[in-house]
């Protein structure tokens, strides 16, 4: 069985895991615009709002309240500001609207909440946002006016989303839409974080995704045996985490998981082990990789440059790309936050890895877990950590806060177990209580 219920302070270690959780929640307090509730994508000066970071923030506030990092009243105020903003901001085909058909643009101006950078109307980022909104709707259950309004608006915003439109006639959900160009041609193929999107879309009482859309998507799944570990494959680690922030998949199975006698939680546990196995093998000889030094996922890197090491090896580095194992791209960039967000799945390998980061690369845990670092990249400075991400991202800090808490108390999992949208979505996707995994 998976070891569970570890409390962070039971680890005999010098590193302060409680502080990491506090720092992760703190990101959203620092990066939020109190006027409209929007949360900045990153800690970079002038960073825009990311709707995904905003959704993660809404759930992180709940963690913060339960851990005493902020008051329930403050969390409710911040949540209500965001919900009112999304309710009242323009939805339409104009290029600077906030959203369209209940979906929202990926990035918004932090002050005005209008679309920036010609970015796309993002289905997955809207799903992350709405998951955060729904978590607020579930958590703020008091009879006072603010909390009642949170519940009402969260229901309204969820029911306004036209998921059926996003599936077009193809039963396959597009990844995005743009005002002039229409739907972008990428659609979801293979197991991914879109699991959350499909479940929320299927659960809608107003504009649901067609039931066959889930089956159409899951036909593209690939069940693989890699390093003697059997799993539903996806390269980047975050894919195996994102849907799990809000859904406890332990012991529930859809058709594919029934066929394969596993579940999505167990799958993420295996995916975490694949990451460790890859780092142990370290096929490209990157510095640092090993039993307790792993974690390859999408995120920023040193940039699109090449360097030549002693011995003639030319290394190509990347900026923001969807890194993954074992097929890459991999340029030696590791994401400590992604290791931390796997805590509920595999604490027995995650905790030693976090300890290793603390011991070998103290900079990456100093002010909260760093987004990424690359020991292989030569910055010209001494020190083993190499390149360090200059910013923290909401997309990283949210999973750390939520998954640490899920591991400790199951907070978001328990909360969302009562969320009607997810209950309906899981049922329509064919999830039922299962017999558990045969291979734990």
């Amino acid at each position: 069985m998976v070891p569970r219920g570890h409390d962070l302070d039971t680890l005999p270690a010098v590193m302060d895991l409680e502080q990491l959780e506090r720092n992760a929640v703190g990101y959203f307090l620092r990066a939020g615009n109190p006027a409209n509730g929007l949360i900045a994508d990153s800690s970079r000066e002038g960073a825009p709002c990311s709707i995904a970071a905003t959704g993660l923030g809404l759930s992180a506030f709940i963690v913060g309240v339960e851990r005493g990092y902020l008051t329930r009243r403050e969390a409710a105020e911040r949540t209500l500001a965001a919900l009112r903003f999304f309710r009242d901001s323009p939805q339409g085909e104009e290029p600077d609207a906030t959203g369209y058909r209940g979906f929202y643009y990926h990035f918004l101006d932090l002050a005005t909440g209008r679309r920036i950078w010609d970015c796309e109307l993002s289905m997955i980022d809207t799903a992350i946002l709405i998951a955060g909104i729904l978590s607020g709707g579930c958590y703020f259950s008091a009879p006072d006016d603010d909390e009642r309004e949170i519940r009402e608006i969260s229901k309204f915003l969820y029911e306004r989303i036209d998921w059926a439109w996003a599936a077009r006639d193809l039963a396959v959900v597009s990844m995005g839409w743009k005002p002039k160009a229409g739907f972008i041609s990428y659609s979801w193929e293979g197991y991914s974080e879109a699991l959350l999107l499909y479940l929320l879309g299927l659960g809608s009482p107003t504009h649901p995704l067609p039931a066959e859309s889930y089956r159409a998507w899951t036909t593209t799944y690939q069940w693989e045996n890699l390093y003697d570990i059997e799993l539903l494959f996806a390269g980047p680690l975050f894919i195996h985490q994102l849907s799990h922030l809000w859904i406890d998949f332990r012991g529930i199975q859809d058709e594919l998981m029934r066929d394969m006698r596993s579940d999505y939680f167990e799958n993420s546990r295996r995916a975490t082990r694949v990451q460790q196995q890859y780092a142990l093998r370290n096929p490209k000889g990157f510095k640092g990789y090993g039993e307790n030094c792993w974690g390859v996922t999408a995120g920023p890197g040193p940039g699109f440059v090449s360097q030549r090491e002693k011995g003639g090896i030319a290394r190509q580095f990347y900026g923001y790309v969807a890194r993954g194992v074992p097929f890459g791209p991999d340029d030696g960039t590791l994401a400590p936050w992604a290791v931390a967000a796997s805590l509920p799945f595999a604490p027995e390998i995650v905790l030693p890895a976090l300890q290793h980061f603390q011991d070998a690369y103290p900079q990456v845990v100093k002010d909260g877990l760093l987004t990424s670092f690359n020991p292989t990249f030569d910055t010209g400075e001494t020190g083993p950590a190499g390149w360090l991400s200059p910013e923290h991202y909401g997309l990283d800090q949210g999973p750390v806060a939520i998954m640490f808490e899920n591991h400790r108390s199951g907070l978001l999992w328990n909360l969302m177990r009562e969320c009607p949208a997810l209950v309906r979505g899981l049922a329509r996707a064919g999830f039922r209580k299962g017999g558990g995994s045969s291979m734990r």
């Binding site: 036909t219 693989e224 045996n225 030549r308």
Partner: protein, 505 residues
């Protein structure tokens, strides 16, 4: 000189002497042929030579060049060029092999092209009109057209037949891009005539041809932009494979533009300006040449197929059933003109099938063929059999045994650790349903899987076959080993432990 070859080039003159002899005189037609073959490409050649070898009286008609697309404008010249390009890439990345500083790697483009033309002419002997005549085939050079369901006319001669095979192949599809005809562009039929490296090259289409030649030209020193209309290269391939390819092309220095449509082209100030649109991004780029690889069109025009009662359409070609019979009994089709899978080895395989079905009352089915294919980029991408989504649609539960090439000692030693072997088996069995291999020599490696599938050999047996060490194909055996380990259930493992404990005494 044929307009698709290089005027004044000695190698191309040599090629022409084989595949379109200037002094060729068509033979006097026989009273009636067992088989008339329309088209002298791979499908036509294999059909004609095979049938003649079995004693049939055979006529073959070729409109243009014997050897068809494969020899003249396809596999042969492109692979010659790819080899030169790979050499220069190895030199450019020589630090990986020498441990030292990279060596100077400026490519000699003209020499690489000349090498290609020399090797093409050398290989042309096998497909030459003279060789066919020596093997007993009546070779007619000229344009063939059906007169009726029993006769074909060529260069004034009327050929009577009992059976006929349409094997006229395919050609590069015309791009529907505003202004491109006026501005001019290259296809696989003209690109091999270049003697001067285009400094800037736009490749339209990220299919096999576009991907291969984009990489080759980049490695030979051109600045290459590749524009592909959909989100992934090689849309039929597994996403992991297509993504590895996209990264490989980018690493080589190619400017990869996915989801990008070329809206228009104009020639201006001695260069070609192409308007590229990616959703709401609209950009005009300037290049020296444009290479188009946007698919293939079947060669069905001018054959007067209506007179023979053979149904066809301009997109899918000649309509055939599973036995490769056209809608007119006695007339068959093979190769690109009738198949969705337009590969030389499919032309070859369907030709063999047609010989049996047309001449020996055979009932061989197209659907029974196990068909591998390969895109010869670096790394190569090869596939055989079923894909994952197909399996689930057909109700199969499938499991994939994946071995990264970095698990192969030889691949690591060769510096070829990029890629993977993925072998799909039916869940609960070792029956191989298909495989995808991404590796430097994936095209060679896939043949082992094809053999296993045709012979009904399971993954368990593959594991028992001794593979030479160290070879890259050992990655296939490792997939078999992984399968074997899944059979070691906890019960069997426990039995084994108890037995060994008892054995120790």
């Amino acid at each position: 000189m044929n307009p698709t070859l290089l005027p004044g080039d000695a190698h191309d003159a040599d090629l022409l002497a084989h595949v379109r002899p200037p002094d060729w005189v068509n033979p006097v037609p026989a009273r009636c042929y067992n088989l008339v073959v329309l088209g002298g490409g791979t499908a036509g050649l294999v059909t004609a030579v095979g049938a003649a070898g079995l004693g049939a009286k055979v006529a073959l008609v070729e409109k243009n060049l014997m050897g068809g697309d494969c020899l003249n404008f396809g596999c042969v010249p492109s692979k010659a060029l790819l080899r030169s390009a790979r050499f220069y890439a190895d030199v450019a990345f020589s630090g990986k092999f020498t441990g030292g500083d990279p060596l100077p790697s400026e490519a000699d483009f003209a020499a690489a092209m000349e090498r290609m033309r020399r090797l093409r002419a050398q290989l042309a002997r096998r497909d030459s009109a003279q060789r066919l005549r020596d093997l007993g085939v009546d070779v007619f050079l000229g344009t063939a057209a059906f007169v009726d369901p029993r006769h074909v006319e060529v260069a004034g001669a009327k050929l009577a037949f009992k059976k006929a095979v349409i094997a006229t192949g395919s050609r590069a599809a015309q791009p529907a891009i505003e202004g491109i005809e006026e501005a001019g562009y290259l296809t696989n039929e003209t690109v091999f005539n270049l003697t001067v490296r285009p400094r800037r090259l736009l490749v339209i289409g990220g299919g096999p041809l576009g991907s291969e030649l984009a990489q080759a030209f980049c490695r030979l020193g051109s600045q290459v932009i590749i524009a592909h209309q959909t989100p992934y290269f090689l849309p039929d391939e597994e996403r992991d494979a297509a993504e590895i390819l996209a990264y490989s092309l980018r690493r080589d220095g190619i400017d990869v533009r996915l989801n990008t449509e070329v809206k228009s082209v104009v020639r201006q100030d001695g260069e070609k300006r192409a308007r590229l649109v990616n959703y709401d991004q609209d950009e005009t780029i300037a290049v020296d040449e444009i290479l188009v690889g946007v698919g293939r069109a079947p060669n069905v025009e001018g054959l007067n197929l209506e007179a023979a009662g053979v149904e066809y359409d301009l997109k899918h070609g000649v309509r055939v059933n599973d036995f490769l019979q056209t809608t007119r009994p006695g007339i068959y089709a093979a190769g690109d003109v009738a198949l969705a899978q337009k590969y030389t080895h499919m032309a070859d395989a369907t030709a063999r099938l047609v010989i049996q079905n047309a001449l020996f009352l055979g009932r061989k089915r197209l659907s029974s063929l196990v068909v591998p294919w390969c895109t010869y980029t670096d790394p190569e991408i090869a596939h055989v059999g079923i894909y994952v989504d197909e399996a689930r649609e057909r109700g199969f539960r499938m499991k994939t045994f994946t071995v990264p090439m970095s698990e192969s000692d030889r691949a690591v030693l060769d510096g070829d650790e990029e890629g993977f072997v993925k072998i799909h088996v039916r869940e609960g069995t070792d029956t191989i349903l298909g495989a995808t291999i991404v590796a430097r020599h994936a095209g060679e490696m896939i043949n082992e899987i094809s053999l296993a599938m045709v012979a009904g050999i399971g993954l368990k047996t593959v594991s028992q076959v001794i593979h030479s060490y160290p070879t890259q194909a050992e990655a296939i055996r490792k997939a078999g080993d992984a399968y074997i380990r899944t059979r070691l259930t906890p019960f069997l493992a426990s039995l084994s432990r108890r037995w060994l404990a008892w054995s120790r005494g």
